[in-house]
């Protein structure tokens, strides 16, 4: 184990896989000479050369279309989006091509492409560049959607993404890039898709989350434990498609209360899907409606104080936990 940042863990995963498999390559805007807007690809051009670390024009649809073609013919391209907001331009390539080629080819052709990049708010990038896309992509069959919350999971899940047969939307949290954590050094280390983990054990309320909101939920859980004596069990989903709700449902069977935390807007968000599935599965165990903690239903403001107001924080999780415990008086 070595302590690594989320950013370095992502770079390590890509470089280990590029060392391991000559078919793995990366393309994107400003990833080569400039070494990436968030410096994820630092040193990669130097090590692997311009045939495997490809600076592209500002043309996301073209990048993804090219990558889909590469993948159909046997390469394993990684496409870095400067932010996932720009991938909207390539939505047709992602949703109607990458996600559909195996189906249209009767299972003959796989598209092992990884589309990765940062998303989410917290770094003052305003309305067009602070959005989160997990529910958007997770809606479509044919895609995998990954949203790691720790450096170790970022590395392990990205390696699984690169090695797999499917197009993967790999959602990084811009606000987590600097976060440090223990990461296994073993080059064979991977984290499988569709296996949620219990990030914190507790007996009173189940909190279900992923990515940055998972970290925020853990802080809320510690505060609740310290100040209120309420012990939350926190479930990290890791991947949203496939979605593994077994540990969450098992936890709700124990706690009888559930709060789902997402950064996204509330309507039609991931939390809606998660809450509905939990309600379907363990209805008789629930002592309160599943609560959702979400972002405010507005385009993300640029002003720092307004951005803070528009995103969920610990106190919102704490209020929701108390609400499902009927502890708000």
């Amino acid at each position: 184990m070595t302590e690594k940042s989320y950013r370095d863990a992502i770079r390590d995963a890509m470089m280990e896989e590029m060392d391991r498999d000559g078919n793995v390559l990366i393309m994107g805007e400003d990833i080569g000479v400039y070494e990436g807007t968030f410096r994820i690809t630092a040193g990669m051009l130097k090590k692997y050369g311009p045939k495997r670390v490809i600076d592209t024009p500002i043309a996301e649809a073209g990048m993804v279309g090219t990558a889909v073609g590469m993948a159909m013919l046997g390469l394993r391209p990684i496409v870095e989006m400067m932010t996932m907001n720009f991938a909207i331009v390539a939505a047709d390539q992602i949703l109607n091509h990458a996600a559909k080629v195996r189906y249209f080819s009767g299972g003959q052709v796989d598209v092992p492409v990884v589309i990765r990049g940062p998303q989410g708010a917290g770094v003052q990038l305003s309305a067009q560049h602070s959005q989160t896309f997990e529910s958007f992509y997770a809606h479509f069959p044919g895609l995998k959607v990954v949203a790691p919350a720790t450096p170790a999971d970022a590395k392990g899940l990205l390696k699984t993404s690169i090695r797999g047969r499917d197009p993967v939307i790999f959602l990084e949290s811009a606000a987590l890039y600097g976060m440090k954590g223990e990461v296994p050094d073993d080059a064979g280390f991977t984290v499988p898709f569709g296996v949620s983990r219990v990030a914190r054990e507790g007996s009173d309320v189940t909190i279900v989350s992923y990515s940055r909101m998972l970290q925020m939920s853990l802080i809320a859980a510690e505060k609740l434990s310290r100040d209120e004596g309420i012990e939350c069990e926190v479930i990290d989903l890791r991947t949203l498609r496939p979605l593994d709700l077994e540990p969450a449902c098992a936890s709700v069977t124990k706690t009888h209360r559930c709060v789902v935390v997402q950064e996204q807007w509330k309507p039609f968000g991931a939390a809606a899907e998660i809450a509905a599935s939990i309600t379907e599965t363990v209805f008789d165990e629930l002592d309160a409606p599943v609560a959702r903690v979400t972002g405010e239903d507005v385009p993300m403001p640029y002003a720092r104080n307004l951005e803070v107001l528009a995103t969920p924080h610990e106190q919102h999780v704490i209020a929701a936990v108390k609400k499902v415990m009927y502890a708000n008086g």
């Binding site: 970290q215 925020m216 629930l286 002592d287 969920p312 924080h313 209020a319 929701a320 009927y326």
Partner: protein, 425 residues
């Protein structure tokens, strides 16, 4: 100068809200005059001036929350001047902020912690779009969480009895867990549910031996026996209180009917002609008092007998009746258990029947029909008071018992029931 402070109106109260001021700064106030209305978590109330004077600085405006013990205003005596109003000093505000910041966890919110602290009224993101109170279902169905329903099923608790503590009266798991069936008190009794609706079908129910016997004997009764009926209304307040005292003794559980059995038996000792049977040649008076008690079973009616009831204590009668009733319900009665009664009691009080007439159980010459006990306004010493009343109707075989005799028996019974101390003699 006297401070008016936010009073502590209960252990749980930590702060109160100023609703409105009736007086403003500078107004003359008199002792006992209401100055302002405050709102606590439980009540709204007026605070009165405790001395004459002039209302000085008002420290808390309408709508403001004030901690218990916090100063609301001052009353100035003659010649006193209001102290200059204390504005929050420039140093004080940042100090408070500093505490807030220290307290907040900044790990994930980082540099934004300050902005969060500055945040004005917090928005409850978990609240449903409409914050209107959820009304209870008009149909009387109580809202309950799925877990509460599951627990209630497992514990055999009916949700109708449980008080919900959740939003809109929702019954939650804790309410079921902490639910204790209400003590048998008529005030607390909940509306009983209707018996289940049975399937409508045309069918023949074969006559059981028991049903044949009931039919034959009761027809024999109303046919040849000239019935007449006397009703008396008894004050059983003292009887109920005696029963309550008795039942407070560990291991004793008596019913009102147990007392009636003993009272009826003792009253028969005064009127042996009621403890008799009609014969074509002679009226037979019985040397012993055996009280039959009508017991309903799924199959029908049967009257097990408490023998020599006049010689048994209420608790002995109680134990015997319970055991006989159990036997009757399990069809374990032997002929010795139900033959040979000399007088019968039928009690439909438990079904809420106020008054009814029973058919004599031959060869008895009388039967008592006991109605429900209920609290009634009655005139005692020219005052309207609430007393527990019970109606008893006696059916008599006119061949043996004349009206006067029946009335005398009921009067004697009144003495035993209304002065129940006689029952212990």
């Amino acid at each position: 100068m006297a401070d008016i402070i936010m009073p502590k109106m209960g252990d749980a109260m930590t702060e109160g809200k100023v609703v409105r001021w009736y007086k403003k700064s500078g107004d003359a106030v008199k002792k006992g005059e209401p100055l302002l209305e405050i709102e606590t978590d439980k009540v709204n109330l007026d605070l009165e001036a405790e001395q004459d004077g002039t209302l000085g600085n008002v420290a808390a405006e309408a709508g403001q929350m004030v901690e218990v013990g916090g100063v609301l205003a001052t009353i100035l005596g003659a010649g006193e001047k209001a102290a200059p109003r204390q504005e929050p000093s420039a140093e004080a505000a940042p100090a408070r902020r500093a505490i807030d910041k220290k307290d907040s966890i900044k790990k994930s919110t980082g540099e934004y912690a300050e902005a969060i602290d500055m945040k004005a009224p917090r928005i409850d993101r978990t609240a449903a779009a409409s914050s209107e109170p959820v009304p209870q279902d008009a149909g009387g169905r109580k809202r309950s969480s799925p877990l509460a329903r599951k627990m209630a099923r497992e514990m055999g608790v009916t949700l109708e009895q449980v008080q919900g503590s959740g939003p809109g009266g929702r019954i939650v798991a804790n309410d079921v867990k902490n639910f204790k069936p209400a003590a048998a008190s008529p005030q607390k009794a909940k509306t009983p549910s209707l018996p289940p609706i049975q399937k409508l079908e045309t069918k023949e129910i074969p006559l059981s031996a028991m049903r044949r016997t009931i039919a034959r004997r009761l027809a024999e009764s109303t046919g040849p026996i000239p019935h007449f009926y006397l009703t008396a209304d008894y004050d059983v307040t003292n009887l109920l209180s005696l029963r309550e005292q008795l039942n407070e003794i560990e291991g004793i559980k008596t019913s009102v009917n147990d007392f009636i059995v003993r009272a009826a038996a003792l009253a028969l000792r005064h009127h042996p002609n009621v403890n008799a049977s009609w014969g074509d040649e002679a009226i037979k008076q019985h040397g012993e008092i055996h009280i039959g008690i009508a017991v309903s079973t799924p199959e029908g009616l049967i009257t097990p007998v408490v023998r020599n009831a006049d010689q048994k204590s209420v608790t002995d009668i109680s134990n015997e009746v319970r055991s006989l009733a159990d036997k009757a319900k399990n069809r374990k009665l032997t002929p010795n258990d139900y033959q040979g009664s000399t007088f019968t009691i039928s009690n439909l009080g438990a079904w809420g029947i106020e008054q009814f007439t029973a058919i004599i159980n031959p060869p008895n010459v009388a039967i008592l029909a006991i109605g429900a006990t209920s609290a009634q306004p009655v005139v005692v010493d020219r005052q309207v008071v609430i007393r527990d009343r019970m109606k008893v109707t006696m059916s008599c075989d006119h061949r043996v018992v004349d009206g006067a005799l029946g009335a005398e028996y009921l009067r004697t019974l009144r003495s035993y029931l209304e002065q129940p101390v006689r029952l212990v003699l």
